[in-house]
């Protein structure tokens, strides 16, 4: 668990040598296009991206999908699916993934669980990336005491271990939310935690890139032509940061999906009866540990989580390597 963040920092620190594929005359290709070509040349990345799109469609159309498959909804308790001892029944034709201890269909809950995972993972990462990029840009461009204060604040958040920070905030905001009603308990709080845990990595990496970019000739040229700081920021630096920012976001999404699941597993994330993978694993785990052998409602939500995270990681991995190769940093 937790893989992306340190890889992002590594990327910003240094770049590996020897590009793996030769793309001909690099000097005519923009960094964004190069990134896209690298992505297209990797079969694993393409398959993963297709899987992610399918997953997104399933998540958005969850009610329809559950209807088409013909299983009962995620919160329908069906006592007739429990056997004569009141124990859940395993995978069958009517319930492909079996039912859980309350007689709820596991497949339907896994499908609905994708909604929360993707919502928190993608929204949280987007907010964190925008916030981190803004902080990193301002710090890198203005320098001086502004840089010291902003980067100090970023380091302060980095000092907290991710899951523990989430545990503390999640527990504090569990009852009635926080921030004067802005952040509601449940999904809102989890997204808030995800943002707090991931924006420092983006901010740090963006600042490093800005610091190396601000001495480039094209920034000098713009400045000597009389461009204002804000123009340099928006028109000169930001376009050069788009490719890294997209990569950072893709790399952070799987980390954040795992963080969300971990928080729900620990009881400070999404709470019952909302279907959520981490929380399903938690419930199944308690049953398994007390000797109930109903493996199916432990295995399936975990597999869904694993495959989702793996798909994002495969795409992120290819993009990170592409970003790190020297051909992208000096076209």
């Amino acid at each position: 668990m937790s893989f992306g963040p340190s890889r992002i920092l590594l990327d910003a620190e240094a770049s590996a040598r020897a590009p793996e594929v030769d793309f001909g005359d690099i000097s005519t290709v923009s960094p964004d296009l190069l990134l896209w070509r690298r992505f297209r040349s990797s079969r694993a990345a393409k398959i993963s991206a297709a899987a992610i799109i399918v997953l997104l469609v399933i998540a958005i159309l969850a009610p329809l999908v559950v209807d088409i498959i013909g299983v009962t909804g995620p919160n329908v308790r069906n006592a007739s699916t429990l056997n004569s001892f009141g124990l859940p029944t395993g995978p069958s034709f009517a319930h492909p993934f079996g039912v859980d201890d309350m007689g709820r269909d596991v497949l339907a809950r896994v499908i609905y669980g994708a909604r929360i995972a993707l919502l928190v993972g993608i929204c949280g990462t987007l907010i964190a990336t925008v916030a981190g990029a803004a902080i990193g840009l301002v710090a890198g461009v203005y320098g001086g005491w502004i840089e010291t204060v902003l980067m100090g604040a970023v380091d302060l958040f980095l000092a907290f271990p991710m899951v523990l920070l989430g545990l503390g905030i999640g527990d504090a905001c569990r009852v009635s939310g926080c921030g004067g009603g802005v952040i509601e308990p449940g999904t809102g709080t989890v997204i808030f935690i995800v943002v707090l845990c991931s924006f420092p990595y983006v901010a740090r990496s963006v600042r490093r890139r800005v610091v190396s970019l601000r001495d480039e000739e094209f920034v000098f040229a713009a400045r000597s032509l009389g461009a204002s700081t804000s123009r340099i920021l928006y028109r000169e630096l930001l376009p050069n940061l788009m490719a890294p920012l997209i990569v950072y976001a893709v790399v952070l999404i799987p980390t954040n999906i795992l963080l969300e699941a971990a928080l729900s597993f620990l009881g400070v994330g999404i709470s019952s009866p909302t279907a959520d993978w981490g929380q399903m694993i938690s419930g199944a785990g308690n049953d398994i540990l007390s000797g109930n052998a109903a493996w199916w409602y432990l295995v399936f939500p975990g597999l869904a989580l694993l495959l989702t995270v793996l798909a994002f990681n495969l795409v992120g991995d290819v993009l990170l390597v592409a970003l790190r190769s020297p051909t992208t940093s000096d076209p």
Binding site: V163, L167, V175, L259, A262, I281, G291, L305
Partner: protein, 301 residues
């Protein structure tokens, strides 16, 4: 060197103060309902009072559930957490150094692809789910192949060394593999960079045998270069430690805070989060100082 160390220590002290201040803000000011009041009708402390308690009296709060200071609860449970971390740490180092170095020297070959694919799989694995699956398969009480002690079987090192070792095998393997997956791919990246350096080329040119080039010139430079990143990674792994303790019911600091959540024992949650974070600040300080000794260039930067 002395100046560098002194500056690092001062910065760490400042960070400790700021971390405490931020935790006061996040856990007391930010929540709409004051969690301390929800618990036992107590007044939560003022900011200055809070800081004074932490830095003058080392008071991290008072547990509603145990009627004991949070600090003493943490100290009681620290040995279990440290046993877990030290064992898993040693295992991950023993695994990741050979894997990281060999994959880098055989880039693109079968071993590299299999090892890095496995690493990506482990990293994508929710550690709490893996733990439950392992227990379902191998735990002596509920497992299908009952060969190892299951959850809730942890015993202290001094109380029962045999049981201590056996009960930690599964958690060590799980946590060690997780850490090794991260470390080995970090090391592989560094190693690839180092092997492209000119001095490696010149070592080869003057006829140094290849194993010596790889291990002395390559790994000798790549391994220390990973150390500063480890300091940051520890933060991520603490999360995995908490989850491991919860799954295997190892009576450590992570399980303490987990149980506190489920008993609305908010001061214990807040106290453990702050204490562990402060401990981490100090650990990172030590890593930095050790690193400065290993690599004198750092203190000039």
């Amino acid at each position: 060197m002395t100046r560098y160390i002194l500056r690092r220590i001062l910065l760490a002290i400042l960070l400790l103060v700021l971390v405490s201040a931020l935790s006061y803000f996040l856990f007391t000011v930010l929540p709409d309902a004051d969690p301390a009041q929800l618990g036992a009708g107590q007044q939560s402390p003022t900011f200055l009072g809070y800081m004074k308690e932490i830095f003058l009296h080392f008071n991290f709060g008072y547990s509603y559930r145990y009627h004991q200071s949070v600090l003493s609860l943490i100290v009681d449970r620290l040995p279990a957490t440290l046993s877990l971390i030290v064992g898993a740490g040693l295992l991950s180092v023993a695994l990741s150094i050979p894997v990281g170095v060999i994959t880098a020297t055989r880039r693109g070959q079968r071993f590299d692809r299999i090892a890095m694919g496995t690493a990506l799989g482990i990293v994508s694995m929710p550690v709490f789910w893996l733990g439950l699956i392992l227990l379902y398969l191998f735990a002596s009480d509920i497992g299908k192949i009952p060969i190892l002690p299951g959850a809730n079987s942890y015993a202290g090192l001094t109380a029962d060394p045999g049981q201590w070792f056996k009960s930690l095998i599964l958690p060590w393997l799980m946590l060690g593999a997780t850490a090794a997956a991260i470390y080995s791919s970090l090391l592989r990246t560094r190693m690839l960079e180092v092997m492209g350096e000119d001095y490696v080329l010149s070592a080869r040119a003057k006829g140094v045998p290849e194993p010596r080039v790889i291990w002395r010139h390559g790994a000798g430079a790549a391994i220390p270069a990973v150390v500063p990143v480890l300091g940051l990674e520890i933060g991520g792994l603490i999360g995995a430690v908490v989850l491991t303790e919860v799954v295997f019911r190892i009576n450590g600091v992570g399980l303490l805070s987990y149980e506190a959540i489920h008993h609305s024992d908010f001061p214990t949650v807040q106290g453990t989060v702050l204490f562990v974070t402060m401990l981490l600040v100090i650990v990172r300080l030590i890593v930095d100082i050790v690193y400065a000794y290993l690599d004198p260039r750092v203190s000039f930067a």
